[in-house]
């Protein structure tokens, strides 16, 4: 029988019985990381944690736009330094990543992303990295071109690129298709319903954008490996018309499916299950803050303990105490009739206990 030789982590019940849900077995890397490997990071807000842990590890974080020496950390963060490998700000969507890499190839600027906010200019493609804005259009353009050059160059020396997929929803320029990380009018620019359109990407679009982005990276650097993760942070708001919970489920499902599909078919792409650890039912909502949206430091530490624990040469990250409450036989209602539950019988006897 196909299930009879499977390890305990293939069955829910023995995982439930284990104190930590067999987390160590959740991630079996295809891409082995060794001390000194150069890691570049990008993605949504949750990806900022990866840079922090990589920096503290035996890996080397690629820093294409490092914070100035002596700049206090809180100032550096406010100005977009040190959050990722370059000052691109949050890259929420696969389309945004693809667009950034395309722009980086030839330091391309987009007139529709040169925003105004009062007297200052704002880079519409990373509107949060200069909180006070730029003093002139010329300054904005120079900074963007400088940024793009450094983004392009950093991939030449990157061994592994870690990208965290965050959203499927974004806003785009109707004519050019350019996508923005935030809706025009919030951090700068002006929202124009005739010009700005809401986009909610589906599986095929995300798949194509990510595939194209990775293909470009490989043209630049054929040795580069890619680690994909999906942000467990729910949407702050949805413009899809759906309830935000349904929109979050849709968005994360699409991203998770794309990441899984790409990783399954490509030896140079791996998936790191941070999403499962944080959002999975085993730990309920314990890894979320009271807003049930942002992730606690315990949650981040748990993800990193699984990640670094799977790469023994890197040394570990201590895992928080995760003891699950023991399962009781009491249930609040009768189980649904479920043929799949019969598979439980194939778990190894010691695991069934």
């Amino acid at each position: 029988m196909p299930y009879s030789a499977l390890p305990p982590q293939a069955f829910w019940k023995p995982c439930r019985a284990a104190g930590d849900f067999h987390l160590d077995a959740l991630y079996t890397p295809k891409v082995a990381l060794r001390p000194g490997m150069r890691i570049a990071t990008a993605g949504s807000c949750f990806a900022q944690n990866i840079a922090t842990y990589v920096r503290a590890s035996a890996l080397e974080l690629v820093e294409a736009e490092p914070a100035p020496a002596l700049m206090p950390p809180e100032v550096a963060r406010r100005y977009g330094y040190g959050l990722f490998s370059a000052r691109y700000g949050n890259i929420y969507t696969a389309r945004q990543l693809r667009q950034l890499l395309e722009d980086a190839e030839d330091a391309q600027l987009h007139e529709e992303a040169l925003w105004r906010r009062g007297d200052v200019w704002v880079d519409g493609l990373r509107p949060n990295v200069e909180p006070d804005g730029f003093t002139s259009e010329e300054e904005l353009c120079a900074f963007r071109r400088d940024h793009l050059r450094r983004v392009r160059a950093m991939f030449d020396t990157t061994d592994v690129f870690v990208f965290t997929l965050g959203l499927t929803e974004c806003w785009a320029d109707r004519d050019s298709g350019l996508v923005y990380p935030s809706v025009p009018g919030v951090l700068g620019g002006r929202f124009d319903p005739e010009r700005h359109v809401f986009v909610n990407q589906g599986f095929a679009e995300v798949h194509e954008d990510l595939t194209e982005a990775i293909a470009r990276l490989r043209r630049w650097n054929p040795r580069i490996k890619v680690l994909l993760t999906v942000s467990p942070v729910p949407l702050t708001a949805t413009a899809s018309g759906a309830h935000v919970l349904a929109a979050t489920t849709y968005s994360k499902s699409v991203l998770r499916a794309v990441a899984g599909d790409l990783a399954a078919l490509d030896a140079g792409i791996d998936y790191v299950p941070s999403y499962e650890i944080i959002t999975g039912t085993p730990f309920g909502a314990r890894f979320y803050n009271d807003n049930l949206r942002t992730v606690t430091s315990e949650g981040v530490a748990t993800v990193m303990s699984v990640f670094f624990g799977a790469h023994p040469e890197l040394g570990g990250v201590p895992r928080p105490d995760l003891a699950l409450p023991s399962a009781t036989s009491r249930q609040d209602r009768q189980d649904d009739i479920c043929e799949e539950a019969l598979l439980e019988a194939f778990a190894a006897p010691e695991a069934r206990a």
């Binding site: 100035p68 700049m71 003093t135 900074f143």
Partner: protein, 269 residues
């Protein structure tokens, strides 16, 4: 006036100048080279030395290791805020847009060539960093807990003798060569003012332009043979960090003028 001088090695030039001309001001000295937050404690207007090193130094100067700051008409803080060296280090790996060299870097970034060797940094980011460093400095901490008016005398700009020191201070020389000295001094002074003007009763005595050269250096004649805090000591002949009694006298003139002027505070505009 009864003045309390709290500071690091840069207090020495003020001490030397005061000895030469006390002008009726009684000066209590609470200083040691490299004075750090871990050396002192301030609570309810009481300043205490908590490190053995500082206690020993104070003993040598005849100062009590416990001062009630309410006993003074004003406090003078010497050093204890980010210096020009911090300002230079902060831009060492970057090109600050808005500075003369930054303007050239900006123009270069806009070409199709290889771009700028150093990443660009906005002047806003640069100033924000200087302000944050100043805000968290021991000088600002002391000023916030002082029960009387406070005057900050920052570390002087280094001596322009460094321009003759081949192989040393290359970044400072680069700042001067690029014509960035004025911008650097302006940003550093703006950071001091931004922090200290928000502290009730506090103000800064910024180094006047006639004591400077290249805007961000001090004339060598005002830095030569600077005194040490230790009685009778002199700085090394190649020291470029410390002002001498002449600079101290210039600063005292400014201090006395300022002390006779009501301090502009947020509560007393």
């Amino acid at each position: 006036m009864r003045l309390c001088l709290i500071g690091d090695s840069h207090a020495a030039m003020l001490i030397a100048a005061h000895r030469a001309d006390p002008a009726g001001d009684a000066l209590t000295i609470f200083a040691k080279p490299g004075l750090a937050a871990s050396d002192i404690a301030v609570e309810d207007g009481i300043l205490r030395a908590v490190s053995e090193d500082l206690c020993k130094r104070l003993d040598g100067m005849g100062t009590s290791d416990r001062l009630d700051l309410r006993d003074f008409d004003a406090i003078v803080i010497a050093g204890l805020v980010p210096s020009a060296f911090a300002a230079v280090r902060l831009q060492q790996g970057h090109a600050v847009s808005g500075w003369p060299s930054g303007a050239r870097a900006l123009a270069r970034a806009l070409t199709d060539g290889p771009g700028t060797p150093r990443p660009l940094m906005t002047r806003s980011a640069y100033r924000a960093a200087l302000v944050a460093l100043t805000k968290s400095s021991l000088g600002a901490t002391l000023a916030r807990s002082a029960p009387c008016p406070v005057l900050l005398v920052p570390q002087p700009f280094p001596s322009d003798a460094l321009l003759q020191m081949e192989g040393k201070y290359p970044v400072f020389r680069r700042v001067v060569r690029n014509g960035d000295g004025a911008a650097l001094a302006e940003d550093l002074h703006a950071a001091y003012n931004s922090v200290f003007r928000k502290i009730d009763g506090a103000s800064c005595l910024l180094q006047s332009t006639d004591t400077r050269s290249h805007d961000c250096l001090t004339r060598a004649d005002l830095m030569r043979a600077g005194p040490r805090l230790a009685e009778g000591g002199r700085q090394e002949s190649d020291d470029i960090l410390h002002g001498n009694a002449t600079l101290g006298a210039v600063l005292w003139a400014g201090l006395r003028q300022r002390l006779r002027t009501p301090v502009e505070t947020t509560s007393n505009p």
